[in-house]
Symmetry: C2
Subunit: 194 residues, 2 copies
């Protein structure tokens, strides 16, 4: 494998472990083993575990954004219907995996923001990128009159994204879809309305 | 020190470390050292780290609830004003500690729900206890006409608590009060209204 391909293989296998077990809880040796690369080669690809963490955040961030954009860019639907579909399919996904894992960006933000400044900066950028997609949908909904023109789309995007992240933690702890169902219900009945 | 007092000292010192660094990231040796008890005595007080974790969750749960009840039981104020004051003082607290740590119950729920079933059960109970205080305030607000009588107080409590937990993660990652300010603004303008 070329250097970049091996680096990506380590990131992908590591990301999978980290999503289900956490960053601190995932050892370099386990990552190397999962990626099937020779023992000791980790530091050939990464300066340290934080540098690897930054790569993992880029990977997660690209995944979440490409998933979200699949819905947000579907212009055959009005903007709020796109968001609704995104949340429905996301709920379905979490149901399928037994209400485990949660959002990798939210998880790492909770776990690593106070422990690694380089990782926190990367996570903050990822939040910004996800929020922007949300904001653009809400802005479009405002232009079409589905959300009141008086609303601040950026503030609503902050509130909605954070409400979702919080609902995903409750989902993990309750092992139930209820927090996600309530999130969606209140969101479309009380927040994103004309 | 009597056995129970030593156990409590270990839990309190451990809880402090865990709140700022995470559960997996805090070693038993560090906890024992911080508590000033002899090396190797941890397993005299706890069956294993999960058993210690359950004690830490009880400790955090009692702390969060007694803090919250200080506001929710202040009947000199109307129920929504009590909630508003709780969030204001909580924001002030997080500002003072540099937007670090976050909610210990939310943090452990994110970190440990998929890793320890005994800890998940304890955390789920803690969520239930905190939610009940929130629900009682909202029910009282409904009775006084400050929140529409059509609303489901239990569902709103789920939504509000989760929105707050999500805002606290954004606070940690952005190192800013903005997500907490936006949470409070949207909460009292769009969710908890007549």
């Amino acid at each position: 494998m070329a250097k970049e391909a091996t680096r990506q293989a380590i990131i992908q296998k590591g990301a999978k472990l980290i999503h289900s077990r956490g960053f601190v809880n995932t050892g370099i040796q386990e990552i190397i083993t999962a990626a099937g690369v020779p023992k000791g080669s980790f530091y050939f690809y990464f300066k340290n575990k934080d540098d690897f963490g930054a790569g993992v955040i880029d990977h997660f961030s690209d995944l979440v954004i490409s998933w979200f954009e699949k819905y947000s860019e579907d212009h055959t639907l009005p903007p709020l219907a796109r968001l609704e579909r995104f949340f429905d399919d996301s709920n379905h996904f979490y149901e399928k995996i037994g209400f485990t894992c949660g959002c990798p960006i939210g998880n790492l933000s909770q776990e690593m923001s106070d422990l690694s400044e380089p990782m926190r900066n990367k996570l903050s950028d990822a939040y910004g990128r996800i929020r922007l997609i949300m904001k653009n949908c809400i802005t479009e909904a405002k232009e079409q009159g589905a959300v009141s023109s008086k609303e601040d789309a950026d503030e609503l995007a902050v509130f909605v994204l954070n409400g979702w992240e919080g609902a995903l933690i409750d989902m993990k702890v309750s092992k139930s879809i209820r927090p996600l169902v309530i999130f969606k219900k209140v969101l479309f009945e009380k927040i994103l309305t004309a």
